[in-house]
C-alpha cells in the first residue's frame, strides 16, 4: 500500500470537488485458489470468463428483484452523490453511489437492454472486458455496503445490493477477495472467523472468568457448550480476544449473571459474523447461518441472544428466519433472535439491574450508530428502537451523554469506514479516508462537549476505530463497547459496592429469579 495523506477534518461536512481516479488501484489482495475452491468458487479467472460473468448477471437478475429494479430505475438525479463516506473522504467520483452502480449498470445496459445493445454511447453502455473487471474489483471493494445512499435515494436504490451482486459475479469467474473468502473458510472449518479452536476458546473464557473474579470477587461465569442452558449467546469472535470488544463480553456475562439466567456460548457457532453477506452469496450466508440453528438444536436452548455486531445483527434480525428458520423449537415468548441491548434494556426496565453511574463519571460518552443496525434492523417493538434502546442503556449507566450532529447519526449515520469486508490492512487507505465524516463529527463533540469516549455495538466498528482514530490524532481507546459501560456501572449482587449501595436503597429487590 502506497503512502497516503490522512484527510483534514473540517467543522462540517464539505462536499469535495471531483478528483478523477485518485483511488484507482488494483484493489485488495485476491483470494488464492484454495480459498476460492473451499467455498465452491472457481480457483482462478477462466478463459471464457466474460460469458460466465454475463450468465451470472442474468442469473442474479432473475433471482433478485432488487438487482433488476435498481439497475433499471436510476434516473441519475444525483441525490446520492454526496452521501457516501468514501466519496467524501477520497473525492474520487467513482465512489459516488450512482457512479459505483454505473460501473456495473453500464455492462447491464450493454448486454440486457434494447437501448444499450443498439445505442451504447447514448446511454453509457460498455462491453465487459478485463479493464472493466479490474475496475469492478477495485471500486466494489471501496463500498462498505452501509446503505446510507439507499436512505436518500427517491427509489430506495441500495448500492449494497449492487456491490454484493458485483462481488458474487466476480467470485463466479474466479476473482475473490482474500480477506472475506479466507475468513469464510475458517468459519466452515473451525466455527469462527478467527480460526479459534474449541480448546483455545475454552481457555480464553476461563481466563476471563478469573479476571472478572479478581476484579469483583464475584464468580461470574462465561459458559461454553452447556447443554440445556436457557440462552445461547451468538457473538462476534472478536469479543473473545480483541480490545475493546472483550470488555463488552464481560458486560454481557455480568448482565446474564445478575439476571440469574443460564446461558452458554457454542463452540460450533462461536461466530455471529456472517461474511457470506459481504460477498453477496445467499448459499454461503445460509450455510454460515445454519451453524447457529444447529448449535441451538444441539444445546437445546430456549432462546438466542445476539451480541454487539452490526452486519451480523442484520443477518440475524432480517435473514435468519429466512435462511435457517423457522425457529419453532425456541421459546416464542421472546424475540428470535433478541439483541443483547434489547435483553439488557428489558432487565433495566424490570429493575433487575442496579447501577452506580459514578462508575462512568470519568467519561463523557457519545454513541456511534452502526450502519447495519441503524438502516437494516430494528430493536424493540417500534421503528427506531435501534436508535433509542442503546441510547437508553447508555443514559441509564452514564451521567454524561451527548449525541453527535443529527445528520451524522441514526438513519443518516456515517459508516466507520471498515464495514462490508473492507476491514483489512491491504485497504488501509480506503479505511482511513472513509472514516473522515465520522471522525469529523466526533471531533466536533470532543471540542464542544469534551467527549472522551464513543460507544458502539459492532465488532467491525470497534476494530476499525481502534485502528483509524490515531490517524486523526485521537486516542485509540476512545472507542468502547456499550456493554463495557454497562459493566463499569453494574453493581453485582454480593459485591462490596453492592453492600455499600444497599444501605442507601433497601427498597430495591435483590432476588433475580426469572
Amino acid at each position: 500500500m502506497a503512502d497516503f495523506k490522512t484527510p483534514e477534518m473540517k467543522e462540517y461536512t464539505v462536499i469535495p470537488a471531483l478528483e478523477k481516479d485518485v483511488m484507482k488501484g488494483s484493489g485488495p489482495f485476491k483470494a488464492k485458489p484454495v480459498h476460492q475452491e473451499a467455498l465452491g468458487f472457481p480457483g482462478e479467472l477462466m478463459d471464457n470468463w466474460e460469458d460466465v460473468a454475463i450468465d451470472k448477471m442474468g442469473d442474479l437478475l432473475s433471482r433478485y428483484r432488487s438487482f433488476q429494479v435498481y439497475l433499471d430505475s436510476c434516473v441519475k438525479c444525483g441525490a446520492c452523490t454526496d452521501k457516501c463516506h468514501y466519496f467524501l473522504g477520497t473525492s474520487d467520483p467513482k465512489n459516488m453511489p450512482v457512479a459505483r452502480q454505473d460501473l456495473l449498470r453500464s455492462v447491464y445496459r450493454r448486454y440486457f437492454t434494447f437501448a444499450g445493445k443498439w445505442f451504447p454511447k447514448l446511454v453509457g453502455a460498455r462491453d465487459l472486458n478485463k479493464e472493466v473487471l479490474d475496475e469492478w474489483y477495485n471500486y466494489f471493494h471501496q463500498c462498505s455496503q452501509c446503505r446510507r445512499c439507499s436512505v436518500f435515494c427517491p427509489y430506495g436504490i441500495d448500492t449494497a445490493e449492487i456491490s454484493m451482486a458485483a462481488r458474487e459475479i466476480m467470485d463466479a469467474v474466479g476473482i475473490g477477495q482474500k480477506y472475506c473468502n479466507e475468513i469464510l473458510g475458517k468459519v466452515f472449518k473451525i466455527g469462527n472467523n478467527l480460526g479459534l479452536p474449541e480448546k483455545a476458546l475454552r481457555a480464553t473464557l476461563e481466563d476471563l472468568e478469573e479476571e472478572i473474579f479478581d476484579d469483583t470477587g464475584i464468580p461470574v461465569k462465561i459458559p461454553l457448550d452447556v447443554k440445556g442452558a436457557d440462552i445461547l449467546l451468538i457473538t462476534p469472535s472478536a469479543d473473545f480476544f480483541a480490545e475493546p470488544h472483550i470488555d463488552g463480553l464481560i458486560g454481557y456475562a455480568k448482565v446474564f449473571h445478575e439476571a440469574g439466567i443460564s446461558w452458554t456460548i457454542s463452540s460450533h457457532a462461536s461466530e455471529a459474523g456472517n461474511f457470506g453477506m459481504f460477498i453477496g452469496s445467499y448459499e454461503t450466508m445460509q450455510n454460515v447461518a445454519m451453524r447457529i440453528r444447529e448449535a441451538a438444536e444441539d444445546l437445546q436452548v430456549k432462546r438466542i441472544v445476539h451480541g454487539e455486531c452490526g452486519h451480523a445483527w442484520r443477518v440475524a434480525y432480517s435473514f435468519w428466519n429466512t435462511l435457517a428458520g423457522p425457529f419453532d423449537f425456541l421459546d416464542q415468548n421472546y424475540p428470535i433472535p433478541q439483541h443483547i441491548c434489547e435483553f439488557t434494556w428489558d432487565m433495566i426496565q424490570k429493575d433487575e439491574l442496579k447501577f452506580d453511574k459514578s462508575g462512568n463519571d470519568h467519561r463523557v460518552v457519545t454513541f456511534h450508530d452502526s450502519c447495519n443496525v441503524a438502516r437494516a434492523t430494528r430493536m424493540g417493538d417500534k421503528p427506531g428502537g435501534q436508535f433509542e434502546i442503546p441510547r437508553n442503556i447508555l443514559k441509564a449507566v452514564c451521567n454524561n451523554y451527548v449525541d453527535m450532529e443529527e445528520e451524522t447519526i441514526k438513519e443518516a449515520t456515517f459508516c466507520c469506514g471498515g464495514g462490508g469486508g473492507i476491514l483489512t490492512d491491504d485497504l488501509l487507505e480506503v479505511r482511513v479516508k472513509g472514516a473522515l465524516p465520522r471522525m469529523q463529527a466526533l471531533n466536533n463533540v470532543v471540542k464542544e462537549h469534551g467527549v472522551t469516549n464513543m460507544a458502539a455495538i459492532c465488532a467491525i466498528c470497534k476494530s476499525q476505530f481502534t485502528k483509524v482514530l490515531p490517524y486523526y490524532k485521537m486516542p485509540m481507546d476512545m472507542i468502547v463497547s456499550v456493554h463495557q459501560l454497562v459493566s463499569d456501572a453494574l453493581i453485582l449482587t454480593g459485591s462490596e459496592t453492592d453492600s455499600e449501595s444497599d444501605e442507601g436503597s433497601e427498597d430495591k429487590p435483590s432476588e433475580t429469579d426469572d
Binding site: 428483484r65 446520492c80 446503505r147 439507499s150 430506495g156 444447529e294 438502516r375 437494516a376
Partner: protein, 255 residues
C-alpha cells in the same frame, strides 16, 4: 385525409402499443422476480398499512429526495406535479362530454391549473437541466441520454405552451382526430406545425418509456427497500428458489 394524417394515425397506434405492452412486460418482470431477503431500509413500518403510507409519501411528496437534496426536490417535485396537472387538462381532448368524469375534467380549476402547469414544467425542467450542467458531480454521472431526456420533455412543454399562449390550434378538429383514434373512425390531423411537433415528441416519449430510465415510475413501487414490511422476526419470508435450498441446507459449508 392526408398522407401525413395517415402516418400519424399509424404512429399513434404503434406508440401506444409499445408503451402499453412494453410497460406491462416490465411490470410483469418486476412482479415475478422474487425478492429472497428482507432488505427494507429501516426505520420502516411494521405493518402493511404503514408501508402503504410510506410509499404514498414517497410517490406524492418525494420524501427521500426531500431528505437528500432540497434543490433537486424543488425542481423535480414542481416538474412532476405540473406534469400531472397538464395531463388532467389534456384529458378533455380525449374524453367525450357524455363520459362520467367529464364534469370533473371540465372544471375551471382543472383547466386553468393545467394551462399554467406548462410553466411549472418548464421551470422545473430548467432547474434540473441547470443542475445537470452546473454541478460537477451530476455532470459526471450524466450520459447523453440523460440530457436528451430533459430536452425532449422541455420541448414538449414549450410546444404545448406555445399552442396555449402564442399560436392556438384548432382544438375542435384536434379532438375529432383523437376521438377518431379511439372509435376507429379516423379524422384528419389539424394542420399545425406546432401541434405536429408536440405530438411527435410525445410519441417519442411514449416509445422510449419502457426502454429507458422512465422505468423509475413503475420501479419505485417494486423497490424492496421501500415496499417491504419490517417484520422479519415475526414472519418467515421465503422466495420460491430459496425454499428449494431449504431441503439441502447445512452448516458444513459444502453443498
Amino acid at each position: 385525409m392526408t398522407i401525413l394524417s395517415g402516418v400519424y394515425i399509424f404512429l399513434f397506434y404503434a406508440a401506444m402499443a409499445i408503451l402499453v405492452f412494453g410497460l406491462a412486460y416490465r411490470i410483469r418482470l418486476y412482479a415475478r422476480t422474487p425478492a429472497p431477503l428482507k432488505i427494507v431500509t429501516t426505520p420502516a413500518p411494521t405493518t402493511q398499512a404503514g408501508v402503504v403510507m410510506r410509499m404514498t409519501r414517497e410517490v406524492v411528496l418525494f420524501e427521500s429526495l426531500f431528505k437528500s437534496s432540497k434543490w433537486t426536490w424543488i425542481f423535480g417535485w414542481l416538474f412532476h406535479v405540473s406534469l400531472l396537472l397538464a395531463f388532467f387538462r389534456h384529458l378533455r381532448y380525449a374524453i367525450s362530454p357524455d363520459f362520467f368524469i367529464w364534469p370533473l375534467i371540465n372544471l375551471e380549476i382543472v383547466q386553468s391549473f393545467g394551462k399554467y402547469a406548462g410553466f411549472g414544467m418548464a421551470i422545473g425542467l430548467g432547474g434540473l437541466i441547470a443542475r445537470r450542467l452546473l454541478v460537477d458531480r451530476v455532470r459526471y454521472i450524466s450520459s447523453p441520454s440523460d440530457h436528451l431526456m430533459l430536452l425532449l420533455i422541455l420541448s414538449i412543454a414549450l410546444t404545448g405552451l406555445s399552442m396555449s399562449f402564442v399560436s392556438p390550434v384548432d382544438i375542435v378538429s384536434l379532438k375529432m382526430f383523437v376521438l377518431g383514434l379511439f372509435y376507429f373512425d379516423w379524422q384528419p390531423l389539424p394542420n399545425s406545425l406546432l401541434l405536429i411537433s408536440h405530438l411527435t415528441l410525445v410519441l417519442i416519449l411514449a416509445i422510449i418509456f419502457p426502454i429507458s430510465k422512465l422505468l423509475h415510475a413503475p420501479g419505485v413501487f417494486f423497490s424492496p427497500t421501500r415496499n417491504q414490511v419490517d417484520n422479519a422476526r415475526e414472519k418467515r419470508h421465503l422466495a420460491p428458489w430459496a425454499a428449494k435450498l431449504d431441503a439441502t441446507r447445512n452448516g458444513s459449508g459444502t453443498r
